[in-house]
């Protein structure tokens, strides 16, 4: 039994199963929710098996078609990929459950939600596992196109507009990335990440390619000031879709960026380039939070909060140069996991609230004690992780980032993290205080269970992950391009 | 020089004026119908001459045959499309140019 567990390529099934299920959901729309649930459970299972294998036997690769790189494509199940898969499994499972209740059979959206979402899921997992620059391009396109279709799902003018923005930004981004891949192939004759990591020279050409790919991916991750497309797209999509876009999809280009910067081009990127990304990250944290403080609609508030949180991920680039590399690396990956869970949960709660109240204007959402109050408290629970309050996973992540900033002596980033936390509490508080305000309106009906429990469960998981962060933290470094002690001490 | 090459050059040179005339016609003629007329000249005769020139250079008969097939297909579709365009224009109310505007 153990032999199979430790040798079978479990991770490929996280790609294959959703792909097949997507086709089935397209063929037989009536059975799509069932296919979705079965897929969600099995993906969770396969992720767990992958985690177990990595835990016991370390990271592993798979040469697709039996062809060794550089001829073939390599799939890699390593620590960073695993954390992404965990995020994908948790968010995917929750959103799938929620979606069975959110979209009804009579709803045309259901017919297309399932195939699109399952394709998106397969694409995300494929991207996380890919070890090949060009294959990353293809998976990224699959991710983007399915996200666009999902963003436009409800067909409202705002959604169509947001989707169009998303699409054009996505095209610009992926073509820029592809031009970088072209230069790399021209220079080194391979697109395999591992091989490139061994051969890349730190010259102007590599820098040009890195700059092109980075620019494209920044656009796709929606880093400030290239975030313009994100809030409209995320805020006007149906809530389960928003949860996926914010919780999962923005992390896809992010992982590519991390792989490029730390694995392929560790010596090519200059400190100036890293700090540029770090400063843009700081800009995102502050700008996104300030915008979130100003929004009048709950979903827009959450969407701008995503803009802000993306900024934290980019602190990795300046902080991971030097001794604090492992600290920052683990911190950012845990933050990805924490943010994925909490943000998805927040969007799902938004969905339930919108369903109940018929709108998501903050001014009209007061509701102590009633149905809304309870939903708002779940929102607040998810926000505990988002803000980074203990004992949540967000706290552990933020703690590591603070440690990294101190070890690296980067006080500027430390101040931004602190300020960002306060601003985040500020916009969360705007929502939280509504939970305690007595509402004048007549009581609303109670939401069906399936719209209440999944987001609550996900926020609880996000909080409890803080107490169980030990193994994820260690696993994040399995096969990662950085290594070192996670919590460094600098006793002279 | 191989006589085949000479023949090819002759055909190519002969094709050039048709294309030139067709293009000038496309740009300068006054209405849709006249332009279509100019265009089909280039397609049919110009391309035909070029195909002949190239067919002479082909290594096998099969290649030559395929080249001729291309010419046939282009003529066929050219004629059909020209007809459709002209008819659409007529139905849209365009009057053929009568030399007076």
């Amino acid at each position: 039994m153990d032999a199979v567990l430790l040798t079978h390529p479990w991770s490929v099934w996280t790609i294959i199963v959703p792909l097949a299920a997507a086709v089935l959901a397209f063929l037989v729309p009536r059975r799509a929710p069932l296919a979705g649930i079965i897929t969600a459970l099995s993906v969770a299972l396969f992720v767990a098996a992958t985690a177990y294998r990595i835990f016991l036997a370390g990271p592993h690769t798979q040469m697709l078609g039996g062809w060794q790189a550089p001829l073939g494509i390599t799939l890699r199940a390593d620590g960073p990929a695993l954390i992404m898969l965990l995020t994908s499994g948790l968010v995917g499972l929750t959103v799938s459950l929620y979606a069975t209740g959110y979209f009804t059979a009579a709803d045309r959206q259901q017919r297309y939600f399932w195939p699109l979402w399952l394709l998106l899921w397969a694409a995300c997992n494929a991207l996380f596992l890919s070890g090949d620059l060009f294959n990353l391009y293809v998976t990224l396109e699959l991710v983007t196109l399915s996200s666009i279709a999902l963003a436009a799902l409800n067909g409202s003018p705002a959604a169509l507009d947001g989707a169009m923005r998303y699409l054009l930004a996505g095209l610009l981004g992926s073509l820029s990335y592809l031009l970088g891949v072209a230069l790399i192939y021209g220079a080194y004759g391979t697109v395999d990440l591992t091989l490139l990591g061994q051969t890349v020279r730190a010259d102007g050409l590599s820098r040009a390619a890195l700059a092109l790919m980075t620019a494209g991916l920044l656009l796709k991750t929606a880093l400030f000031p290239l975030h313009f497309w994100l809030p409209p797209a995320h805020a006007s999509a149906p809530p389960p879709v928003s949860a996926l876009l914010s919780g999962l999809v923005v992390k896809a280009p992010l992982l590519i960026l991390f792989r490029l910067w730390f694995e392929v081009f560790p010596d090519t990127a200059t400190a100036g380039m890293a700090h540029l990304l770090g400063i843009l990250g700081c800009g995102a944290i502050i700008w996104g939070s300030l915008m979130a403080l100003r929004q009048q609609r709950l979903k827009l508030l959450v969407a701008y909060s995503t803009v802000a949180q993306i900024g934290y991920f980019f602190l990795l680039f300046p902080l991971a140069r030097g001794e604090a590399a492992a600290t920052a690396w683990v911190g950012v990956f845990l933050l990805v996991l924490a943010h994925g869970c909490s943000k998805a949960s927040m969007f799902l709660v938004c969905g339930t609230i919108t369903r109940l109240a018929g709108h998501d204007r903050l001014a009209g959402l007061a509701g102590a004690g009633g149905t809304l109050g309870a939903r708002l408290l779940v929102f607040a629970l998810a926000a505990v992780t988002l803000v980074g309050m203990p004992p949540s996973s967000g706290f552990i992540a933020k703690w590591l980032l603070i440690n990294a900033a101190i070890v690296a002596g980067q006080w500027w980033y430390l101040a931004t993290i602190a300020l960002g936390t306060l601003l985040a509490s500020g916009y969360v508080l705007r929502v939280l205080s509504l939970a305690f305000t007595e509402s004048q309106s007549p009581p609303l009906p109670v939401a069906p269970r399936i719209l209440r429990w999944p987001p609550l469960a996900l926020s609880v998981v996000a909080v409890l992950l803080g107490l169980a962060a030990f193994h994820p933290a260690v696993l994040t470094l399995a096969g990662a391009p950085v290594s070192g002690i996670i919590l460094l001490e600098m006793v002279p | 020089m191989d006589p085949r090459d000479i023949l090819s050059i002759v055909f190519l040179l002969a094709a050039a004026p048709f294309f030139l005339a067709g293009t000038i016609g496309l740009l300068r003629f006054p209405d849709v119908f006249c332009r279509l007329h100019a265009l089909t000249k280039a397609d049919n005769l110009g391309l035909g001459l070029i195909v002949i020139a190239l067919a002479l250079q082909a290594d096998t008969w099969l290649q030559s045959a395929r080249l001729l097939l291309i010419w046939l297909l282009v003529m066929l579709s050219g004629a059909t499309v020209a007809h459709l365009i002209a008819r659409t224009a007529l139905r849209a109310g365009r009057k053929p140019w009568s030399g007076r505007s």
Binding site: L145, L160, D161, L167, L168, L175, A182, Y185 | -
Partner: protein, 102 residues
């Protein structure tokens, strides 16, 4: 200067020309055209930059560009469908202004 480099340079220029068009024009169809021109530029640079190998041309970039062309067509078709839908629902062929964004 070798021949592939000419085409590589042309590809880069096409890419930037497309970028300009994508950013500068408001009409959605034009933006989509521009994106396609960008794509062609990238593909040209890809083939040309990899086409400098001695002997037979390297088939791998050819296959990649084929994939790229197909992916771009898929994107184009969705983008056009989206543009048509926008035109049909709101009778405009450009993105909404900043004021409507909130």
């Amino acid at each position: 200067m070798s021949v592939p480099l000419i085409y590589t340079a042309a590809g880069i220029f096409l890419f930037l020309l497309g970028t300009y068009g994508l950013v500068a024009y408001a009409h959605l169809l034009r933006k989509i055209l521009a994106a396609n021109i960008m794509g062609s530029g990238v593909f040209m640079a890809f083939i040309a930059v990899a086409g400098r190998t001695p002997g037979a041309p390297d088939p791998v970039p050819h296959a990649m560009v084929l994939t790229g062309i197909v992916v771009t067509v898929a994107f184009t078709s969705v983008a056009l469908a989206l543009a048509v839908r926008i035109a049909r629902t709101s009778s405009r062929v450009h993105l909404s202004g900043r004021d409507e964004e909130q």
